[in-house]
């Protein structure tokens, strides 16, 4: 086996073994371009590792659970996280370790190195995607090098790589990963160069920053930009950056530091140097026979090429490809901090204000055409906030993922979702509501007379203090019979709320699973893994992740309040057209209601019902597979939630089966034995709440709502992610 090859010994037929990035470096070195000292840990080392550890089969098992086509992006991230944890928890077997350790140590005795992916499928002209796999800068010592080689191997199965599995030809049986280990070049000025601009074929683009170029590549540090004419080598423009930070080597990695005074006035490159960079990019373009996207750095006066890959011009389809949007969700810590300020200071207060402004306006005063207009206006407002939700809140949820990765890297837990427990002790709006419910249930539990009065609906006899409490609850959280939180008085008597309270009072209170002391112990353990100097940043990241976690729930609640106001207008409209003699108004779309209000002669069209086929064959699900999202096993009757009204019949000990648990539904969680959800992923509300209460939970079960019926006996195996029916 050829496990390690130095760059200068790479032969022309070695590409499948050393990968695209490494092969390109070897060609550049051979043609006289300065590149860092580099050796390649070949794909054969990866193959040996996954064969010796049995990981190849485990990856296959993980990725075969469910068709990719049925998987949501979050589930793909989860699968990738679980695979990464397999690599983290499987050391390199001794025989392989011995074969890698000595040669690597002899090349890089004590200098910091860069460990980069060099996948055979990556950087070929047909599949040139930056950032699908991982790279690590300033790794020190042979143990750390071998650790990071393993992390690069794991990144063959990164969520981004899984998304682009077709383009990459990703295949568990065949795919493999080579790793580049190279000296770290501590350049004073670094950057990227496009030998041909992606937007104008006659131009080239150079971007540069002070320090190392990780900040430029991940978007943290704004670069100076030069545009040159390819033919004349003359500058067309130079756009200076607002220079205030740069990336420098830190302990075991890199860190962002303020730019020393004096340097912020200086462009990182002189005109002459910018031309030298352009010449280098052009030289590389000639060598590879197509326009190149290069990374480079200046160490003193010496210009060193760090990597070069073909530029792919994107077709319109690719630009609009939703996967790009998903990948744009991967935000840096710095970026998330900025986003957090915006969400906390502008967006959340904005949503609260919007909802109360809408609540103040009395729709009953409006004429029919005015109400029609108001319905459309409110739907528009809601739609607007939904788009804010997608563009700002969803990316912010990446804080949880970022933290999860750091936690797993440093703590190496058996359970890849242990980090969720650490985030769980944050007050969420839905938990506050559930606590208020439990407080009322406790009063009923201790007072059989009150319970009887409520059961017989003798509200006139009920203690006034208790009724005030119920009123306060309804004012704050809605009366639970509304489709969403914030809808007040959907029902004159809060019957749904009383039903749930009685059911809760008839049984002991549910306990949250996690004691505060456990969480404190986890937190202490996590922080103890960091050196003194890094601990503050680790604590900051934890704090950010907690906010991110809390918002996963709260943003929906605030959005729900705005939606409730939109629906209140629609409901008012339905009442008016019902009074006019139109039947079945419940099933009408909002647009139909508005139309009917504007035009008294319009007959609104009800939604079409789906047909069910009858034949000699009837299908019944016996056992369904999803993702294990809350450890534990339980049995109970299914309560399938299709509309909110189904929730009010919820009985103690039933299993909640739904398309997607939203935080507005979680008030029944204290009554449930387990949760089954169609939507998949570990960061969805169902999974979050299940962990909070220690309930067995299986998510990502396709067709759960149609294949399971209310009353079916269910066994929920939250260890294996299996739901058995009957």
């Amino acid at each position: 086996m050829n496990l390690i090859i130095p760059l200068q010994e790479i032969q022309s037929d070695d590409r499948p073994r050393v990968g695209g990035k490494c092969f390109a470096l070897a060609r550049m070195a051979r043609s006289g371009i300065a590149v860092p000292d580099t050796v390649c840990v070949t794909a054969e080392a990866y193959d040996a590792y996954v064969a010796l550890t049995g990981l190849r089969e485990r990856i296959l098992l993980e990725l075969s659970r469910k068709d990719f086509a049925d998987m949501r992006w979050e589930e793909i991230w989860d699968a990738s996280l679980r695979i990464r944890n397999m690599f983290l928890n499987k050391p390199i077997p001794p025989e392989l370790d011995a074969a890698l350790r000595d040669p690597l140590e002899s090349y890089f005795s004590d200098a910091g190195v860069v460990v980069r992916s060099s996948a055979p499928a990556e950087d070929s002209s047909s599949a040139s995607f930056a950032g699908l796999h991982e790279s690590f800068v300033n790794v020190q010592g042979i143990d750390a090098i071998l650790e990071h080689v393993r992390l690069v191997w794991a990144s063959l199965w990164s969520d981004a790589a899984l998304l682009y599995r077709q383009e990459l030809g990703l295949d568990v049986d065949k795919s493999t990963m080579a790793v580049v280990v190279q000296e770290i070049v501590i350049g004073e000025r670094s950057g990227v160069a496009f030998s041909q601009s992606p937007t104008d074929a006659s131009q080239a683009v150079i971007e540069s920053v002070h320090g190392l170029n990780q900040g430029l590549v991940d978007g943290t540090v704004e670069p100076d930009q030069w545009v040159l004419d390819r033919a004349t080598r003359m500058f067309i423009s130079h756009k200076p950056a607002h220079r205030d930070q740069f990336i420098v080597p830190g302990p075991g990695g890199v860190r962002l530091a303020p730019l020393p005074r004096g340097m912020s006035n200086l462009a990182p490159l002189s005109d002459k140097e910018a031309v030298a960079v352009f010449d280098l990019a052009l030289r590389s373009e000639k060598l590879f026979g197509m326009p190149q996207d290069m990374e480079w750095t200046f160490r003193g006066e010496e210009l060193i090429a760090l990597q070069s890959r073909p530029i792919t011009t994107l077709s319109d389809d690719e630009v609009n490809d939703e996967r790009r949007w998903y990948l744009s969700l991967r935000r840096s810590f710095e970026n998330l901090k900025v986003l957090r300020r915006k969400i906390e200071r502008e967006l959340i207060p904005g949503m609260i204000e919007e909802a109360s402004r809408l609540a103040e306006q009395d729709v009953a005063q409006l004429s029919d055409p005015e109400l029609a207009h108001e319905i459309e206006r409110r739907l528009g407002i809601h739609e607007n906030w939904v788009s804010v939700y997608w563009s700002e809140f969803i990316p912010f949820a990446h804080g949880i993922r970022l933290f999860g990765q750091v936690y797993n890297d440093t703590v190496r837990p058996e359970d890849p979702y242990e980090f969720m427990d650490l985030l769980g002790a944050t007050p969420m709006a839905s938990m506050e509501r559930n606590q208020a419910l439990e407080d009322m249930a406790a009063i009923i539990r201790d007072n059989p007379i009150l319970a009887e009065e409520l059961r017989t609906q003798a509200y006139a006899d009920v203690d006034l203090d208790f009724l005030t409490r119920v009123d306060d609850f309804v004012q704050t959280f809605g009366d639970l019979s509304c489709s969403i939180t914030g809808g007040v008085a959907c029902d004159q008597v809060p019957g749904a709320l009383v039903k749930i309270l009685l059911e809760m009072a008839a049984h002991p209170p549910a306990e949250t699973h996690l004691a505060l002391t456990d969480i404190q112990a986890l937190e202490k353990r996590f922080l103890s893994r960091f050196e003194e100097g890094e601990r503050t940043q680790a604590a900051e990241l934890l704090d950010l992740a907690r906010t991110s976690y809390q918002l996963r729930d709260d943003d929906n609640i605030y959005l729900g309040r705005i939606q409730a106001q939109a629906l209140a207008a629609v409901d008012a409209g339905k009442e008016r057209i019902e009074a006019r003699g139109v039947t079945n108004v419940d099933g009408l779309e909002a647009a139909e209601v508005a139309k009917a209000l504007e035009d008294p002669n319009y007959v609104p069209q009800p939604r079409k019902q789906e047909e069910k086929s009858q034949a000699d064959f009837t299908m019944k699900a016996r056992q369904l597979i999803g993702q294990p999202a809350g450890p534990g096993i339980c049995t109970g009757k299914a309560r399938v939630i299709v509309s909110t009204a189904d929730l009010t019949d919820f009985k103690y000990g039933e299993v909640l089966v739904c398309d997607a648990v939203d935080p507005n539904m979680t008030f029944v969680v204290p009554l449930t034995a387990g949760i089954v959800e169609r939507r998949g992923g570990m960061l969805i509300h169902g999974a979050i709440i299940a962990r909070e209460y220690g309930l067995p939970c299986v998510t990502g079960v396709p067709d759960a709502v149609s294949l399971i019926r209310t009353g079916d006996p269910l066994t929920v195996d939250g260890y294996l992610g299996i739901v058995t029916i009957g």
């Binding site: 098992l61 659970r65 299908m619 699900a621 016996r622 369904l624 597979i625 299996i722």
Partner: protein, 151 residues
Amino acid sequence: MESPERVKSILQDLFAAQSLAVLATHDDDGQPYASLMAFAATDDLKLLLIATARSTRKYANLVTDPRVALLIDSRSNRDSDIHRAVAVTVLGKAEELKEDERDRLVGLYLSKHPHLEEFVRSPSCALIQVKVARYYLVSKFQEVMELHVRQ
């Protein structure tokens, strides 16, 4: 979306691709007994056909109790079978075919197993139909869908 049609089409593909099934019977003490059988299925998936000499233990068992189970699968003896292979367990009632029906169905059986012509045409060979009551389709390692058949 899972549907009876989708399950049926998976079964039809599987039955077209596989020539052998495992048949489970039991004797009058209740001792289970498994046999490898060449099988064929009707297009409507209501019947499976198997053939056996009347002197065999499985034939005696079938006469004792016509309730049988069959297993048909797509394994290829590799590690990946665990998730890639599909297996179907069939529950049904076995019944030896008499004259007319035998003539009607023997062609279907022989079109799948032409090399068994001599065996099936032998006077000592029984052609047996299994009237299917239920299919249990197992895929992706442990997903199980039931298909109930009305005969």
